[in-house]
């Protein structure tokens, strides 16, 4: 495997509403920020890959507008996943592994504010048996939360503590949407209260990947991707054990997460209860700094929130605040699909 690192990361301020901005306008500043951070221009990049969703945009082929913003003239080597940008990063990492590219620009964005994201996400569900019932994302997460409580894995007080810890941590994150002491609030869908749920917001993120010496030339302390893997589970909630995440555990094993302890974990857990599941699957104890950014509970721009976890973990390595960090991204209802990456600074175990 080639040594590949995240060498630059940028994200927008995540906002409840951005009526005055198009998706492309949200995205453009972060594209410029990561390019400026490395001194690269779009034409220097070996491969470009993005993640987004037509369903959030409300129109087919919505990503073509973003490509126009990238400025792909002369033409570029480029691809797109209709997934969270974390999976765009994975495709770009594979591309660099083939040897066909040495650098990659990865970006993703999502505007949840124009619609009802809870309703929109129901369109991910089995279109014949489940989707027609419109069970929304909070209701499904509540099923999972109740299963955890019934199993004795957590209780409402512990969930509230996760929410509190995340939002307090986000006070130091200038991009976060929800920060500081946030009241637990009323039940949205029992047992989940407002505080257990992510904010609805708009935002974008971008990273630059580079291989080997190119990475060293572009970044004083590259965040090396020591392992990365993702796994999917069955779709139907009826055939899954909601209190566990075998796909996360398998991805973490394949990514080498259990070979040595990590000091930081950025987990893509939009609901407090999902952090409980992920901590267990990833065997994270209190020695690990979990979601120092505030995580998806502080800012959850759908389709970018997973890429932001990779970016936040990398940024801590860039700043010297972490030597070995775990980043996690998820997709689908109740943590159906999960990615785990292990990032390290150069001197992590020298």
């Amino acid at each position: 495997m080639r040594d590949v690192a995240i060498v630059a990361f940028a994200q927008t301020d995540h906002l409840r509403q951005t009526d005055e901005l198009s998706e492309v306008e949200i995205l453009m500043p972060v594209l410029h920020q990561v390019l400026d951070a490395t001194g690269l221009r779009a034409s220097d990049i070996g491969f470009t890959c993005s993640g987004s969703s037509d369903y959030l945009a409300g129109r087919a082929f919505s990503f073509t507008m973003a490509l126009d913003g990238v400025g792909a003239n002369p033409p570029i080597s480029e691809s797109h996943v209709e997934m969270d940008g974390a999976w765009a990063l994975y495709e770009a990492w594979v591309k660099i592994q083939t040897g066909q590219a040495d650098t990659a620009l990865v970006y993703s964005y999502g505007k949840s504010s124009p619609g009802e994201v809870r309703d929109v996400l129901t369109r991910q569900l089995d279109p014949y048996y489940v989707g027609p019932l419109w069970p929304d994302s909070v209701a499904l997460a509540a099923l999972q939360a109740q299963a955890l409580i019934d199993a004795g894995d957590t209780d409402e007080t512990a969930l509230a503590a996760i929410a509190h810890r995340s939002r307090v941590a986000a006070a130091d994150n200038p991009h976060a949407q929800l920060k500081g002491a946030v009241p637990a609030g009323d039940y949205v869908v029992r047992p989940l209260r407002t505080g257990d749920c992510p904010p609805v917001g708009d935002g974008a993120a971008a990273v630059i990947l580079a291989a080997g010496d190119t990475a060293r030339a572009l970044c004083p302390r590259p965040a090396w991707i020591r392992g990365i893997d993702h796994r999917i589970e069955a779709h139907s909630l009826g055939v899954r054990e909601l209190t566990d995440s075998p796909s996360t555990r398998l991805a973490a094993t394949r990514a080498g997460a259990f070979e040595r302890p990590v000091d930081t974990a950025e987990l893509h857990a939009p609901f407090t209860s999902q952090e409980v599941v992920l901590r267990k699957a990833l065997r994270l104890d209190d020695s690990v700094d979990v979601n120092p950014s505030g995580g998806a509970l502080a800012a959850n721009p759908v389709m970018a929130a997973g890429l932001i976890r990779l970016g936040e973990a990398a940024a801590r390595i860039h700043r010297g605040e972490s030597d070995r960090a775990l980043a996690h991204a998820t997709s689908g209802p109740c943590l159906q699909q999960n990615m785990v990456a292990v990032l390290e600074g150069e001197s992590a175990h020298a």
């Binding site: 033409p75 797109h80 040897g99 369109r123 991910q124 796994r231 398998l250």
Partner: protein, 388 residues
């Protein structure tokens, strides 16, 4: 560099039709996947990862269908990626899967693309609303007709060329059991007398709306050695994108297409595509795109593409057969159309294209494009493993 040679050892398609009311989306994709596995003599357990592609989610009204399809495609416990690059997606999906093998991340990958167009209406799915685009660009034909007109004006091609392509592709489709449009009574006169939809594009020169899926099993050198059927080897593959609109955009021959082809030929060691390539599966949703892409892909000099078509070079028994399968003009499950081009190119060099086999085909090009002629993906496959 860890570039592992990539082999196509399994290919499966559904019989493409206007509406598969007998199967769910999951049933449709599984049909193609099972056929590809059978062709490769492999089971679900042999597959390390699944890469799936389709065109916009709005075509079926299902957001990120890979989540729902994980079970049907045996992906549970495996990595699954969902690619979406507009009309080129079928080709891009195959290339993403090929990269997983080439990078030695996985050894054997199932890749699949589909569209079940009967679940909605692609014409209106492709008609972007104000304020995103000006009105009166109804469907893809409305977007592409002016560029066909520009090609005719630029090259002086007689207005009879488009009908020759449609007549050829629809006759070729009669030899392909999976093709959607089978019109045994097709005549050139019928093609020419069809109603005009978007001048100069007649109804008979447009692609149908199809339900269908296409799957391939890609594997490494060791996997190819175990294959019971002859593999097709990937000699080169590339994607290129350019913006929808910009000063200097050439809609008749987009630079992204030229660059993409040049990259594939460089990887494959092709110096003279016209002589060295034996068959082409080209993304031709409207008949005139055959002569246009012949030039864009380097098979003809600028302004000369229509002469190849007119002289019969691109016929099934011609010197450079184009779309022996019947092409997109005969079968168009949009998200799968690009992968069908890639798969049909592989069938040709495996010698398994049946009645539409090009005799002695050793190297074939699969081509796809999408968006406003802005996304391109191509691969070149050969009967022999790549030499380098």
């Amino acid at each position: 560099m860890p570039e592992e040679p990539v082999a196509v050892v399994g290919i499966g398609q559904t019989k493409h039709v206007a509406a598969r009311r007998d199967v769910s989306i999951a049933g449709l994709v599984r049909e193609a996947a099972v056929r590809a596995l059978e062709d490769a003599a492999l089971t679900w357990a042999d597959i390390d990862a699944v890469v799936i592609g389709k065109a916009p989610d709005f075509f079926e009204g299902l957001m990120m269908p890979e989540l729902y399809l994980a079970d049907a495609l045996g992906a549970v416990g495996k990595p699954m990626l969902r690619v979406h690059t507009a009309g080129s997606v079928g080709g891009s999906t195959a290339l993403v899967a090929a990269n997983l093998v080439s990078a030695r991340v996985h050894r054997t990958v199932l890749t699949l693309a589909f569209e079940k167009q009967s679940e909605s209406n692609a014409m209106w799915g492709l008609s972007l609303p104000i304020p995103f685009q000006q009105p009166l660009l109804a469907g893809a034909g409305g977007f592409f007709a002016p560029h066909v007109r520009a090609y005719m004006r630029r090259t002086g091609a007689p207005d009879t060329v488009g009908s020759l392509v449609a007549y050829k592709d629809r006759r070729n489709a009669l030899k392909n059991p999976y093709a959607h449009i089978h019109d045994p009574d097709i005549t050139l006169e019928k093609v020419r007398s069809a109603p005009m939809l978007w001048d100069p594009i007649r109804y008979s020169e447009t692609c149908p709306s199809s339900d269908g899926a296409c799957a391939m099993v890609l594997t490494d050198r060791a996997g190819a050695a175990r294959s019971p059927q002859p593999p097709a080897w990937v000699h080169g593959g590339a994607m290129r994108s350019e913006p929808t609109l910009f000063a200097g955009k050439d809609f008749v021959s987009p630079r992204a297409g030229r660059d993409c082809a040049a990259d594939v030929y460089r990887q494959a060691g092709i110096g003279d595509p016209r002589r060295e390539i034996d068959a082409v599966e080209m993304y031709v949703p409207f008949s005139w795109y055959e002569p246009m892409w012949l030039e864009n892909l380097g098979f003809a000099d600028e302004g000369e593409g229509w002469k190849l078509t007119e002289s019969g070079v691109t016929e099934l028994d011609g010197d450079l057969p184009v779309n022996p399968s019947g092409g997109v003009l005969s079968t168009n499950p949009i998200g799968a159309s690009g992968m069908i081009r890639f798969a049909e190119a592989a069938l040709q060099v495996r010698g398994q294209a049946g009645e539409h086999q090009v005799a002695g085909a050793r190297k074939a090009l699969g081509h796809a494009y999408g968006g406003g002629a802005q996304f391109f993906s191509m691969w070149l496959v050969g009967a022999e493993p790549p030499s380098s």
